[in-house]
Symmetry: C2
Subunit: 138 residues, 2 copies
Amino acid sequence: MENMMESLPNMRLTTQRQIILEELGKVTCHPTANEVYDMVRKRLPRIGLGTVYRNLELLADSGVILKLEVGGTQKRFDATVDPHYHIRCSACGKVDDIDIPLQEHINQAATAASSYKVLGHHIEFSGFCHSCLAKKPD
Amino acid sequence: MENMMESLPNMRLTTQRQIILEELGKVTCHPTANEVYDMVRKRLPRIGLGTVYRNLELLADSGVILKLEVGGTQKRFDATVDPHYHIRCSACGKVDDIDIPLQEHINQAATAASSYKVLGHHIEFSGFCHSCLAKKPD
DNA sequence: TTATGTGCAAAACATTTGCAGGAGT
DNA sequence: ACTCCTGCAAATGTTTTGCACATAA
């Protein structure tokens, strides 16, 4: 944890920052800013929602965490920064990791198929999660 | 156009609906609701933004158009409904189609790699568009 | 004629920001 | 000390919604 922060010269190690990072690291799914706020508030009841947003943004900009621009109305955050794909439950909106090989080759295909300078890609699967399937089987 | 609407028993063919569909069909990129509003307003100056949102939502629910849940803060809309991928300019946010083969096989991989019932996937490439590259070459 | 759609304005969300006081280095 | 950071609240931006009137079928 402290190693993470030590690599960030312009960022102070505040209690708020530390606890946000700890709580995000505890979960395997990818919470929204508001969900992080709820998690953190159990330990720091006086923290402001603005502080949570500011820190998540700052940590994402520094590459310590990942900001996921997935479907749904809210951004989500991921403590794991190495490239991987995601799946989103069409019923409840939950987002989890999908551990399949990176499809690096499609970047070349995309470069050939467009006038853009292609930098990368993200794959988002959709489906129904275990607990939503249990509620309404089909 | 009317064919499209005829297949939708519960939807009336209103002027607003028709013009929204026409304007969306004219562009190859994928405008936000507000951009559609601006396009449509040139022909129907008294149309309300709420009407645009309601119709885009309704048309997407009926499968006549596609609602894109891509990166950025706004949803975008696509007159082409058959499956294809997109690229988003990291500088200006513009979204275009990317015409590469569908990667159907990764759905199986995702099914094997998770406890979800996998339904499909979407790939979003990121990069810089032609006009942003021209402005700031690197 | 009557259910559906529209314009308008207000409400509901998600996120960002200004500021005065607080805390890390 | 000197920044940077925080809590709070207000502002912003996007999307949804309630309602009285209009209109397609």
